[in-house]
Amino acid sequence: MSHPNGRVLTSRPVPAQAGIGLRFPHPEAVSATRTRVAFLEVHAENYFGGGVTRRCLERVRRDYPLSVHGVGLSLGSAEPLSAAHLARLAELVRAIDPALVSEHLSWSISGATYLADLLPLPMTEEALEVVCRHVERAQEVLGRRILLENPSAYVRFEHSPIPEWEFLAAVAARTGCRLLCDINNVFVTAHNLGGDPNQYVDALAPALIEEIHLAGHAQRTCPQGRSILIDHHGSAVDPAVWALYQRALRRWGAKPTLIEWDTDLPPLSVLVQEAHTAERYLAHAAGAARADAA
């Protein structure tokens, strides 16, 4: 890809190691200290404009493999995708040429109003058709394959006959997209709606998984006394989620793994510490795979 200063950038692949979500105000510290992480991921919508934020992204892009994670395309909306939003995403992807581009199995727009959260879909044939149509359209405009991420959920639909892992596999089979499995979301959703997180992890085909997300959640108690887990991305990864992650690595082998932290952002060193914990499990998984092959 040609660049304003004449340099040619080639997209560096994201390795099967650990990275961190890059959030304000960390970009400067990351650039200044060359933080030891394998890759960085940014929220697409924060970088749609030009100016200093785009320059900052171009800088980190030179030093790290990069993943662009969209939160607002609303692939699950019954109404058509926003052409303007998709065009902005396409411009960013063209300019930055990230190694990975991902979005969510959710919706956030209804009646041309953005509802500012990743909302749950009923797992039905009707929703599957909508999501496939939108993933195909997005991949066509972006000119590349995207990863689709499983969301966290707090409410369940009465009619939702397809297990989420089957739904995701069907979207991948029909559109050629791949999956981003958020292990924390698997755990949170299973806890909130009832379900076995191990079964979920075991059911996903390893070849479809191109990235893993890990994040912290919070526990709240509903008025009815039942505990509910909130996917707040505001704390360290829970021990039970680390355990589920290790199970996933045993099943899938080592995969690029991202630590997400969005609220009550701690110092950069805390995120890096979490990434290094993931790195130890990844090294173990890679070692086990080599031993199996020998």
């Binding site: 030009g50 500012a116 707090y154 409410v155 008025p223």
Partner: protein, 257 residues
């Protein structure tokens, strides 16, 4: 069984507080829908706080959050590009009764919106004014300049530029020195070629001329009402890289391409 469009419209209404529950849910207890509603509220008020930091500092965080939420309830964003959200907040503030005593607040918001637009405007290659020499000499007086997408002009009834700066720099002395009765100010907001956002005052005549140029008026027409100082103003704009191109005025019936 409700269709997906029906489910989503109903869910959206519940999320916006227009219905107590949503269609088709097993766990439709308010406590659970509230988790989504809380995230929505936090995300939107936070987005507005990032775009309007001086307004927030002037009214305090709790007042700002309540005001931002009142605005979001009537004017929700259309897209997840939240740097692009808040264009109508200044107008909302003009009619927002609890802030009526801060007569300059809407002007500060207008300035902050222009600053935010300048900060996030798309990149556009700067232009070398020597390219003017490529124009047919007969086209020069009818030339139309194309401004960088970050450039905007504002006429503010109060010295909102000084208030904005004093608030963000926490400069108490500058704040005390502000004279609200000093009359309107005319400003230009831009992102310069080094990507720094700048707010500068212009004389009213230079501002009027600049505004006409930015509106796409051909040079001779922009000059007509007040030509004094226009040459110097145009020179400043060209030197500061505020234009990204120019074209001859097609409406003058000039057949040349």
């Amino acid at each position: 069984m409700p269709t997906l469009p029906e489910l989503q419209r109903s869910f959206a209404r519940a999320l916006c507080g227009r219905e107590t529950t949503a269609l088709g849910l097993v766990d439709s207890m308010p406590a659970r829908l509230e988790i989504y509603a809380n995230t929505r509220r936090a995300t939107l008020t936070q987005a507005l706080a990032l775009t309007f930091p001086a307004v927030r500092a002037l009214v305090g965080a709790p007042f700002f959050d309540a005001m931002a939420w009142a605005f979001a309830a009537t004017t929700p964003p259309a897209s997840a590009y939240l740097n692009d959200y808040g264009a109508r907040l200044p107008r909302f503030l003009r009619r927002y009764e609890p802030a009526a005593s801060l007569i300059y607040l809407a002007d500060v918001a207008r300035l902050e919106w222009a600053v935010s637009r300048a900060c996030h405007a798309p990149d556009a290659p700067r232009w070398d004014p020597r390219e003017l020499s490529a124009l047919d000499p007969g086209d020069l007086s009818g030339v139309i300049f194309i401004a960088h997408p970050s450039v905007a002009t504002l006429r503010l009834a109060y010295p909102a530029d000084r208030i904005w700066r004093a608030v963000l720099e926490q400069d108490e002395a500058a704040m005390r020195a502000i004279d609200l009765a000093a009359g309107p100010v005319h400003v230009l907001v831009e992102r310069d070629p080094e990507d720094q956002v700048r707010v500068c005052r212009l004389l009213p005549s230079a501002w009027q001329f600049t505004r006409r140029l930015l509106a796409g008026q051909p040079l001779f027409q922009a000059l007509a009402p007040a030509a004094e100082s226009a040459a110097a103003t145009l020179g400043e704009h060209l030197a500061a890289g505020r234009f990204i191109g120019c074209r001859p005025d097609r409406d003058r019936g000039d057949p040349s391409p």
